[in-house]
Amino acid sequence: MGAALLLAVQEDGSSNIINENFTRLSTFVQDVIFFSVKVNGAKIPLVVVWLIFAAVFMTVYFRAVNVRGFRHAIGLVKGDYTGPDEEGEVSHFQALATAVSGTVGLGNIAGVAVAITIGGPGATFWMILAGLLSMSTKFAECTLGVKYRRVNADGSISGGPMYYLSRGLAEQGKVRLGRVLAVVFAVFCIFGSLGGGNAFQSNQALAQMRTVTGGDDGLLGGSGAGIAFGVVLAIFVGVVIIGGIKRIARVTDKLVPFMAVFYVTACLIVLGGNFGAIPEAFGLIVEGAFTPDGITGGVIGVLITGFQRAAFSNEAGLGSAPIAHSAVQTNRPVTEGYVSLLEPFIDTVVICTMTALTIVITGAYTEVGTEGVQLTSQAFESVLPWFPNVLAVAVLLFAFSTQLAWSYYGAKATAYLFNESKTADTVYKAIFLLFIVIGAASSLDVVIGFSDAMIFAMSIPNLIGVYLLLRVVKRELREYEQDRASGVIVKVSERV
């Protein structure tokens, strides 16, 4: 498929052929992954129900660890429990920061706009709720990620669903099931990395760059320019992931937290400028959540939209985050579980909510015809006319860092499938770069359809494994809580 698309670009030079071929692929995978049932006229994709159920179930099963564990998570990130012998290793803060820079991306800026366009302001309510509940899912999967990580012969660490599915289930005597789930996960992870972690990012980065360079008649207006943009972005990503120029990755990763803070500040300025309208916006969000007007599927339709976009943004239950979290230095896997529950909080409860409030408060969502990141951009423009330019830079950085993070996830999955083969690694990375171009050359609805399908598919093998291993997580949590209660685990400052 990829090679055919590449040929199409060479022969025709237009993005139309890419778009058409990609649409066909996208429709097919969507039909399979988003198999839906109809309830009261609302189409409910079963895979979204699967994620909602997991988030609710794990919150109950771990007795609201998302709420109970919050303070302890902050303490761990601050380094309150890091002893001097752990200096120089990957700290909880570093593991979280790496995971967050992969998670915070266009899902937070463009994805939220998509949710509000489809589900109205009420989608925000369900998105926040989804963010809070899915902290428990993240807790479970990241604990497992550390528990079953593998220390390779060269001393490096490999972790993630591939390992807890295969090694964890093998412990329970389910060797074959574990192996099958791990392989299925790795395959979906590779495709997910090409979709949401890649094509969606370049698609929306281009959309915003196009907006600030004069729209359809501007520098990046034509379809050829879209491809050119994709190629340039692909070269930058390629220089890092194939060329091994890590310096660029380091610089971007340092800029991402700064941009995230800057972005939230800009949201607060917009909200401050419309201070009086905040209660009304909250009113719209709550009202829209329970009595949505004119939204297909009513409450259920809005709920599904909110949950879907939240999951797309914070990745809880998908199995991507455990790959990034597993390198942390700790001998208690559950500590990273605690820390990881901050990730959906930062991503969804803070950043996504900020975007949503900005869009709702400025009324930008009522305008017909704008979609994705352009809607967010317009919301900002109404208060800060110069902001779209800054947003373009932020979006480009977020897209770039998310692409780097996902190319790492995909490469780890490839390494697992092909036994650390160097050739497979290079082939995967080449395909990854191709999808950057495809993402830039296709239209938003096609890209988001494909991205969603692939990303959500990852949750199927991942969560089956997490359910089967829940007792392991529970045991780790219980022992850890006992040790905290009995004073075995205390802050470094309180140690004698």
Binding site: P84, V90, D253, Y408
Partner: protein
């Protein structure tokens, strides 16, 4: 118990001068603890690849500091019939030197200085500068 003197070295000439200064001024059965601190902060943002290899990198940094910086100084001190020990640690240099001084009940910390400009010190800080603010024992800065 012998007097313990902590010497902070950084691989530069100044670090070596600090060690020699300590060697000249110790009296009786003193112990010189030569410390190299690899500057490291738990609050930096790193890539996933860096994280995955961090343990390996830490070991490499420790070994290389031990063999190329600490061991040669220990050999020099041994030649002068002084009792000396070497340590390589990760962290904030000034803070780690103070921690070690406390751990070992040292009576004195000796460090060199690089003679960096005011702008550089302002931007990046300086270990002697930080050290004299937080140390709980006397600090000697060797020019």
């Amino acid at each position: 118990m012998p007097e313990v003197i902590v010497v902070g070295v950084d691989g530069s000439e100044a670090g070596a001068r600090a060690a020699h200064f300590a060697a000249q001024h110790v009296q009786g059965p003193s112990l010189v603890v030569v410390v190299y601190v690899v500057p490291w902060s738990p609050y930096t943002v790193q890539t996933a690849e860096e994280n995955e290899r961090r343990s390996v990198a830490k070991q490499r940094e420790t070994d290389s500091a031990q063999t190329s910086i600490v061991d040669p100084l220990l050999a020099e001190l041994a030649d002068k019939d002084l009792k000396a020990e070497g340590l390589v640690r990760h962290g904030h240099p000034a803070e780690v030197l103070c921690e070690i001084a406390t751990e070992r009940s040292a009576s004195h910390i000796v460090v060199g200085r690089r003679g960096q400009s005011r702008v550089r010190s302002l931007l990046f800080g300086s270990t002697p500068g930080n050290l004299i603010q937080i140390a709980t024992v006397p600090v000697t800065v060797v020019p």
